[in-house]
């Protein structure tokens, strides 16, 4: 077997991932635009739980209100941060929402029914997203976690110095606009959002396609049976494959005969939280150090959970 890089295979794999993911990014961008136009910062501040745990728990279930997958969740999270969403809530939302939404509940149920896989995926997603949110959320100020663009009021490129003032002014301006003006504004924001986030999706898809074209999967499949190694492997696979959370259950079905149950559940709970393309999108929202935490913490926690399921629960 030779490792000749075949540009046509790469193009097919890259465009396939892009075509499958881009509608979800577009829907996320539109949602972000609608939030920008119609949700006032004051409303968010009024409805937010005051304490950190409440905020993190609320964030974990916020996906039920904003059904987004891992491509759409990043622009929506950034927009919510700008509207003043508390840090723990945003992070829990970011990690949990790609699974914690009606669409992915349905696809997981269709693939696995209500059993250890569904329940495990639910519990692990909840525990990991809330824990990571609390850990990162306890880091002092949002300014040390978020990039300027994602900070409250950091919406416009001209607004660096007097951001709060400008933000209020902007909210006020929109409040008096007509419905069609607001809608037009929302779609305009969505267009810019698409370019801002789309570049990360494209770089990530290219990287994922490159890995798939160069690394033989079957070599890795040999690792599939150990209680620890299988979980580790499936998480790495989830990270590399970057498959959309709305359909990853069907993909996981492919592995149920080969892999341990813990590995399948970890694949399904870790994959939607972080993968190659979302990592790149995270860099548009968070500072580099935080992006690293956002990958490593969920990775380790999911690994522990998967190994625990294999060893202690003996599925």
């Amino acid at each position: 077997m030779d490792f000749v890089f075949n540009i046509e295979v790469f193009a097919t794999r890259f465009l396939g991932i892009f075509i499958e993911a881009v509608p979800f990014l577009l829907m996320g961008s539109l949602t972000s635009g609608l939030i920008e136009s119609f949700v006032k910062s004051d409303d968010i501040l009024r409805w937010m739980p005051r304490n950190r745990l409440g905020a993190a728990l609320g964030g974990a279930f916020l996906g039920l209100a904003f059904p987004v997958c891992e491509c759409g969740v990043v622009p929506v999270t950034r927009q919510l941060f700008r509207k003043g969403l508390p840090l723990p809530m945003g992070i829990a939302f970011l990690l949990a929402a790609p699974f914690m939404n009606p669409i992915v509940f349905a696809s997981t149920f269709i693939a696995f029914g209500i059993g250890p896989v569904f329940i495990g995926r639910f519990v692990i997603t909840l525990v990991v997203s809330v824990s990571v949110a609390l850990i990162i959320g306890s880091f002092a100020k949002p300014g040390s976690v978020l990039k300027p663009l994602a900070l409250a009021g950091g919406r416009h490129k001209h607004s660096h110095d007097h951001s709060q003032e400008h933000d209020h002014h902007h909210d006020h301006e929109l409040a008096t606009a007509s419905l069609s003006e607001k809608l037009l504004h929302a779609v305009g924001v969505a267009g810019d959002e698409f370019f801002e986030m789309g570049r990360f999706l494209i770089l990530g898809s290219a990287l994922a396609a490159l890995m798939q074209t160069l690394v033989p999967q079957e070599n890795l499949l040999a690792l599939g049976t150990g209680n620890v190694l299988s979980v580790l492997f499936m998480q790495v696979l989830a990270y590399i494959l970057s498959v959309c959370s709305t359909v990853d259950s069907f993909l996981a079905l492919a592995f149920v005969n080969t892999f341990t149950t813990g590995a399948i559940i970890s694949f399904l709970s870790f994959g939607p939280m972080v993968d190659i393309k979302s990592t790149l999108m995270f860099t548009g929202v968070f500072r580099r150090r935080i992006v690293l935490y956002l990958i490593l913490l969920p990775f380790l926690m999911n690994l522990l959970a998967g190994v625990f399921i294999n060893l202690a629960l003996g599925y």
């Binding site: 097919t12 794999r13 075509i19 499958e20 577009l26 079957e218």
Partner: protein, 238 residues
């Protein structure tokens, strides 16, 4: 708005329009099925619709600048070029389904997913490669002796195979090509001279339990081997 910003805005407009046209073209030509499972084809419709809406809004804002006083992000040429990359690939490289070049470490006899009662009820001649492999997992090889087979796939051969041995293969696709998975049925023909490795063939014959690359498997004893065009649906959907 500076002349540079104006040029970038026009470039963005063209990319949005181009993406919409590209998705529409994939849908019309049927090439969409080279990339994603037909079950998710509706996503491309949604994507095309949103791209056209974004392009139209962008155009409206170009014509009546008062509607859009400020840019929301500082989007420069670097971002515009990255986002144009998929379009460049789509234009420069002809659309192709994954074929033999994409097989990266062997073919599996164990297919993705599980069969349903409906797939198992299919008569032998209606079964595709995926159906057959699911059947193979349910019984010992000898049980399939003399059953007739009529399947379409591409010719795949490994170094361990004898000259007359090959696998008639397909990729299965759950979602998109990210999860493409090659599967194949063992087959034995009098001569493979007429068909090229990697080309699409229709294989007719009967199953016979036999030793194939060191394993006892149901092997197609090929009666008719003919070259065919690539099917409109190049992948099988588990």
């Amino acid at each position: 708005m500076s002349a540079r910003e104006s040029r970038i805005d026009w470039a963005k407009l063209l990319i949005l329009l181009g993406m919409g046209i590209y998705l529409t073209q994939l849908i019309i030509s049927g090439n969409l099925l080279n990339y994603i499972n037909q079950r998710f084809a509706w996503l491309a419709y949604v994507g095309a619709g949103i791209f056209f809406a974004l392009a139209a809004t962008s155009l409206l804002q170009r014509i009546k600048p008062s509607l859009h006083a400020h840019q929301h992000y500082a989007i420069g040429w670097d971002i515009v070029l990255v986002v144009a990359f998929p379009l460049a690939l789509a234009v420069l490289i002809p659309s192709r389904s994954l074929g033999i070049e994409a097989i990266n470490g062997g073919i599996s006899l164990r297919p993705v997913g599980v069969g349903t009662a409906a797939t198992f009820a299919r008569s032998p001649l209606d079964r595709n490669i995926l159906d057959w492999l699911r059947e193979f997992n349910r019984a010992v090889p000898a049980e399939f002796n003399d059953l007739p087979v009529d399947v379409i796939g591409f010719v795949y051969q490994e170094p361990v195979h004898d000259d007359d041995e090959f696998m008639v293969s397909r990729f299965t696709l759950s979602c998109c090509v990210a999860d493409a998975f090659p599967i194949g049925m063992p087959a034995r023909a009098d001569s493979l001279d007429e068909v090229a490795i990697g080309s699409w063939v229709r294989v007719q014959g009967r199953l016979q339990a036999a030793n194939f690359a060191g394993e006892l498997l149901p092997v197609i004893a090929v009666e008719v081997l003919e070259a065919v065009d690539e099917p409109e649906q190049p992948y099988l959907y588990p």
